[in-house]
Amino acid sequence: MQPRKFEKLQEIINKHEGKVSHLIAILQEVQAEYRYLPEEVLTYVATAMGVSPATVYGVATFYAQFSLVPKGKYIIRVCDGTACHVRGAAPINFALRKELALPDQQQTTDDLQFTVETVSCLGACGLAPVVTINDQEVHGQMTPEGVLAVLAKLQAREQQPAEQA
């Protein structure tokens, strides 16, 4: 473990004055830094804040937003809220997982490029079905073909980083 990693962590904890009521916010910022919550980081947060590792682990596993395993560079979220569901979110999810050859129970590709997850509702029901990329790009009225085109664009972006720069 490099000491640098903990420096940044300590900075986040200090910013929140180590307040236990800020635990969720601290974990959110830590996850934004590392893209997930590694176990040693959780232990460090607990020790630094003076709470038990079980408390931190308990919070980290309770909320859907936190991930204890690394996620991909691109997080593709397929909305499976009611509106998206009745307008066909399942085939979109299916198409993505198939294209990325993701086995059941696995959300992230082995090369850590893509994570495919479903989300309960993004609140963009008027545009159902909806897919978001890294919470930035929102794609509405999606179809299996449409989402594969979006994916292909992301893959192309990855393959030619030099030309883009």
């Binding site: 916010a25 909320y63 009745v86 989300v119 509702c121």
Partner: protein
């Protein structure tokens, strides 16, 4: 910085004059839906291109535009007609353009803005008559609406506090701080009959009375923006489109119960709402309308914004409090109720976003005015998120008591793609599925409760003939099972077992006895669960069992899915006339269940078929069908 009431009044008069000076106002919707459709580039195009014509343009009310009659180009909150985005509304005429692309901006400027002519092709056309509808208010989707909570959404710039003040903002709180006692405020809200818009429907004034009566040095107001119901997005639209209204509502509530601090708990899935609320808090503080000793009255109020981390159960009051305290968001038994013992043990009032947004107009116009809308038992208006297989999806606000039929067929324009109406799911995972027989039911708290549904937060998902109600029940059960916090056994284990049963039914592996077991379990979970999530979780199952029992029976008796949705209950066939014998299906079939001679029609061996659907997907001639 506004320090006195006089200063506020002077400032507001100045802003109103500024507003009146605007020659025209172009409002480009910047709600999540329209932004996804590229409305921000439309907005930029308007700003640049009007400027390029040498006209004075401003993006904020007080911006110096260098001209007497400036053109305001503003972003606005959600107009509600999300599916038609990007949306553009032009004031003062109220002309409404939809599906506006950056390439359309030149034409709108040339024709409408410079020469007062309409751009006909971008207007809404009445689906029945084909006639163009000029203004927003004349569109059937809006015609039947009454906007109170959403009054400013789509009309003002959410990022400009001055725009809010010019439209009457912060007038209610200013008035009460000088003229009314907290008790008078509570009486007014009681008189209005306002009930909690988050789903429970508890009278807001009564809740406040409890917290007012509680003695404590510290009290809190929490705004519940953890809109977790899949299919509902009204709170998001209010927080994004009119954030100052939420702040003002919280201040009114705070003054009424004697709280000096508030929290807004926003879902992590709503980044735009978080951004706009944070900006609004800073702007209100800088203006002196929020913070210490507001307008010299001695009343102080501080607002913090807390982001959730993705847990549906946090919409429940006590779970939400635990989450703000930094813990796992798990509910606890009540009493003590939060009004007596809430956040950090202090008396706390939790009001939903929409409830709070209703407060400023109630204060300004009086409780009796509010009672002028809706029904005796459910006064006022309510926002609904109309979604699913309906022609016009979006956010609507109607007086309570409107019939479901008016909602679905007049505002929603009926079903899309000529589908036939089958059911409407109302109130999210806590609500129920209603049928055609309920179409004339008035939408209010009591009527819906009687038929086993509830208004909930107002999600209204319309479903057509090709929806399988067992699958819908399974969908909701999967949702609540996943979101159950696990604290109490009936909810944790009960939802899991119900999901197993529903899965069995959709796979054709269930027997008649499983229906009885499902019903029994549902009643146990309803009675035995600790919090609202568990208590209401069986509602979709119970209502579908009640109103669509024949569909369940078809699944267990005949092993058929009448809607043709449940894959495991279908057999795959090849239409012998359409099949060209290309052999693609046989090649992709993982079970080698398809065979046939080259260029001759193929056939599927239903015994070997896995029902995976790959062949249907691959067939170029649409020759494969299920039955």
């Amino acid at each position: 910085m506004i320090k006195t009431r006089q200063e506020y009044t002077t400032y507001q008069t100045k802003l109103k004059a500024e507003l009146a000076r605007e020659k025209m106002r172009v409002l480009v919707c910047a709600g999540t839906g329209c932004v996804a459709n590229g409305s921000l580039t439309v907005y930029e195009a308007f700003e640049q291109k009007i400027k390029a014509k040498g006209l004075p343009v401003k993006a904020q009310l007080l911006e110096e535009a260098g001209g007497h009659e400036p053109y305001a180009v503003n972003i606005s909150g959600c107009h509600g007609f999300c599916q038609m985005g990007p949306l553009v509304r032009i004031e003062p005429s109220g002309v409404f353009y939809h599906h506006v692309k950056p390439g359309d901006v030149d034409e709108i400027i040339e024709k409408h803005i410079l020469n007062n002519q309409l751009v006909e092709r971008l207007l809404y056309h009445h689906p029945a008559t084909g006639q163009a509808v000029t203004t927003q208010d004349q569109i059937p989707f809006y015609q039947k609406q009454t906007r109170v909570a959403l009054e400013h959404c789509g009309r003002i710039n959410p990022d400009d506090i001055n725009d809010y003040i010019a439209h009457g903002g912060y007038k209610a709180i200013t008035e009460i701080l000088f003229e009314k006692t907290p008790e008078q405020i509570i009486d007014e809200v009681l008189a209005s009959g306002l009930r909690g818009r988050g789903g429970g429907g508890f009278p807001t004034g009564k809740k406040w009375q409890f917290a007012r009566a509680a003695t404590s040095d510290k009290k809190y107001i929490i705004c519940n923006g953890d809109e977790g119901d899949p299919g509902a997005f009204m709170d998001r639209s209010v927080m994004e489109g009119d954030p100052h209204r939420v702040l003002e509502g919280m201040m009114i509530a705070g003054y009424a119960i004697g709280a000096d601090e508030g929290y807004i708990y926003v879902r992590a899935e709503y980044p735009l709402a978080v951004k706009r609320l944070k900006r609004a808090v800073v702007a209100a503080e800088e203006m002196g309308l929020l913070g210490y000793n507001i307008l010299g009255t001695g009343f102080s109020f501080k607002i913090n914004i807390k982001e959730g981390a993705g847990a549906f159960v946090c919409g429940e009051e006590t779970a939400l409090i635990a989450s703000i305290e930094g813990q796992r968001g798990m509910p606890r038994p009540r009493p003590p109720f939060p009004a007596n013992k809430g956040l950090w043990g202090c008396p706390t009032i939790i009001n939903n976003v929409e409830t709070l947004a209703n407060l400023p107009p109630i204060i300004i116009n009086g409780g009796q005015w509010f009672r002028g809308f809706g029904t005796a038992g459910s006064p006022g208006t309510k926002t609904f998120a109309l979604a699913g297989q309906v022609a016009h999806t979006g956010l609507v606000e109607i007086p309570m008591g409107m019939s479901l039929r008016e909602m679905v067929f007049e505002i929603g324009g009926g079903l899309r793609d000529g589908k036939q109406f089958k059911a409407v799911q109302i109130g999210g995972p806590s609500g129920g599925c209603l049928t055609e027989a309920h179409l004339d039911l008035p939408l209010d708290y009591e009527a819906l409760k009687q038929v086993g549904a509830m208004i909930g937060s107002g999600g209204l998902v319309v479903m057509g003939q090709d929806t399988c109600m067992v699958e819908v029940a399974k969908f909701f059960m999967g949702f609540v099972q996943n979101e159950s916090c696990g604290k109490c056994v009936p909810c944790r284990e009960g939802t899991r077992r119900m999901l197993e049963l529903l899965t069995k039914i959709t796979r054709g592996q269930a027997g008649e006895e499983d229906l009885a077991l499902l019903e029994e379990l549902a009643l146990v979970v309803q009675d035995g669960s600790l919090c609202g999530l568990g208590k209401t979780a069986p509602n979709p199952v119970l209502t579908t069992l009640r109103y669509f029992r024949h569909e369940y029976e078809a699944h267990v008796r005949d092993k058929k899915c009448p809607a043709g949705v449940c894959k495991a209950l279908q057999d795959y066939y090849i239409n012998q006339e359409k099949c060209k014998g290309c052999g693609l299906c046989a090649k992709v079939c993982p079970a080698e269940a398809i065979a046939g001679a080259k260029k001759e029609p193929h056939a599927i061996d239903t015994a070997r078929c896995l029902k995976c659907g790959t062949c249907i997907e691959k067939c170029k001639f649409n020759a494969i069908y299920t039955a």
